[in-house]
Amino acid sequence: MKKLSKLSTVYLIIMFFILYAPILYLMFYSFNSGGTMYHFEGFTLDWYKELFGDSRLLIIVLNTAIIALLSAAISTILGVAGALAIYYARRRRVKNTLLSLNNVLIVSPDVIIGASFLILFTMVGIKLGFISVLLAHIAFSVPIVVIMVLPKIEEMNTSMIYAALDLGASRWDVLTKVVLPYITPGIFAGFFMALTYSLDDFAVTFFVTGNGFTTLSVEIYSLARRGVSLNINALSTLLFIFTMLLVVGYYFITKRNNKPGRMGVR
């Protein structure tokens, strides 16, 4: 293969720089004692201290984490059931209909999801707050889990299921001892995806959260609307590191995912 020309390399480097510059910019100024995002006066960790001293913000972080973990766990269970339902659907028509309905929430803009859920929760009479946010996050994470798990199920060899049935396994045994172990990597990938979607979500949460309950994204939005405050920079540095850890974790899971063998038996 030919080597890249100078111009192409420069273009790529500039693009990488632009992609990462804003994030590094944020992190850099989180250590600024000057209190602004343009004039670096001196190094300080005050913003981090202030962050950890802010109990309101810590509660918000806790809320966000609980919502993310709970919604990811529940949507993983629902998503696996969904993927199995699609897999076991015999007729092509049913399968395609299920898949299309599954993808509606993936392609819908956040605003539509948020607005329609707001109507739904108000109609049903669910008080806006923790429960409504949790339900919304579960709802939009399910299709992502399905998409992550389904390919794994489809690549599974059907004769394994028949073999298990022939050897006298009950349907429950087939599920817990054959199918689930085989698709575990897909399940983990789905769980991680659901987790990041939940942590990232702003628009849907913004619609369905009431007055009393906030997640991190919504809080950052209201802080950012008031202007620059280096607390957010400190917070984003921590979030960045946390996201990187999640991505690395996800990366290793998908890597294991691609390794053949050893998955069938456990």
Partner: protein, 267 residues
């Protein structure tokens, strides 16, 4: 033998579909026929076809179009060059990495960079142009949107380019086609599916952006998304908000049909 187990898995999943996919859409449609006092009318639809809303819809489409176009123009060369590098998977991962970082934080970073004393203006100062108002302009809005959507455009185009059989390009070169002709007649047509899905992934959210319009464009740009948010959360005119949502859904379906692949299956 499978009929029983199928029913079992379908139950929770179908309940989810009914509650969170079908119901919300029907409810949006239902609400669009009510005015702010709860009266059943077609007024919202009449109102949508007044110049105010039509202009807003048009400008929303225009911005979404600009964003998609610039994203494509930047993303295609990147994807192309990435497929030519040695560690392409690693570099691709590095491109996608920023998209995992909370959108709000990236928007917030740009408030700092594009601010009056921010890095962008210092740069302009150095090269002699002088300080300009960058934040709260169309430029900043489109720039930040392109920045945010870039990874989503690169991914499908990269995959399409990666699947492209290199011998086709070689054949075209051997047959005497210039680089441009090869691109126009061979590479681009063969990767059009990637371009289409990239445009779809970018255009639909670009139509409904609402957070960026507030933070970066300073309420100057009103998209369909901003209008929906405004109606639902500020003026509490849910009927009108739902009507705009109905049109946004229609636009979404049209775009999906337009950019849909003619392949078997979904997605």
């Amino acid at each position: 033998m499978k009929s029983k187990s199928r029913n079992f898995y379908l139950i929770p999943y179908v309940i989810w579909i009914a509650l969170f996919v079908v119901m919300p859409i029907l409810l949006v449609l239902y609400y669009s026929f009510f005015d702010i006092d709860g009266q059943l009318t077609f007024d919202n639809y009449k109102k949508f076809f007044t110049p105010v809303y039509l202009k807003m819809t048009f400008s929303s489409f225009w911005y979404a179009f600009l964003i998609t176009m610039f994203t494509l123009l930047v993303a295609y060369p990147i994807s192309y060059l990435l497929t030519k590098t040695k560690h392409k998977q690693l570099l691709l991962l590095l491109i996608i990495l920023p998209s995992w970082i909370n959108l709000l934080l990236k928007a917030y970073a740009f408030i700092g960079i594009f601010g009056t004393y921010g890095a962008a203006n210092s740069f302009l100062e150095v090269i002699g142009i002088g300080t300009k108002q960058i934040l709260f302009t169309d430029f900043s809005f489109i720039f930040v949107s392109v920045y945010i959507f870039l990874p989503f455009m690169i991914l499908p185009i990269f995959n399409a380019l990666d699947e492209l059989n290199p011998s086709l390009v070689d054949a075209s070169n051997d047959l005497g086609a210039s680089k441009w002709i090869t691109f126009k007649r061979v590479i681009f047509p063969l990767t059009i599916d990637g371009v289409k899905s990239g445009c779809q992934i970018v255009f639909i959210p670009a139509l409904s952006l609402f957070m960026l319009t507030r933070l970066i464009a300073g309420n100057r740009v009103i998209t369909l998304g901003t209008a929906i948010e405004q109606h639902f959360l500020v003026t509490q005119d849910w009927g009108m908000g739902a009507t705009i949502a109905v049109f946004l859904i229609i636009a979404m379906v049209l775009i999906m049909i337009l950019t849909g692949k003619r392949k078997r299956g979904i997605l």
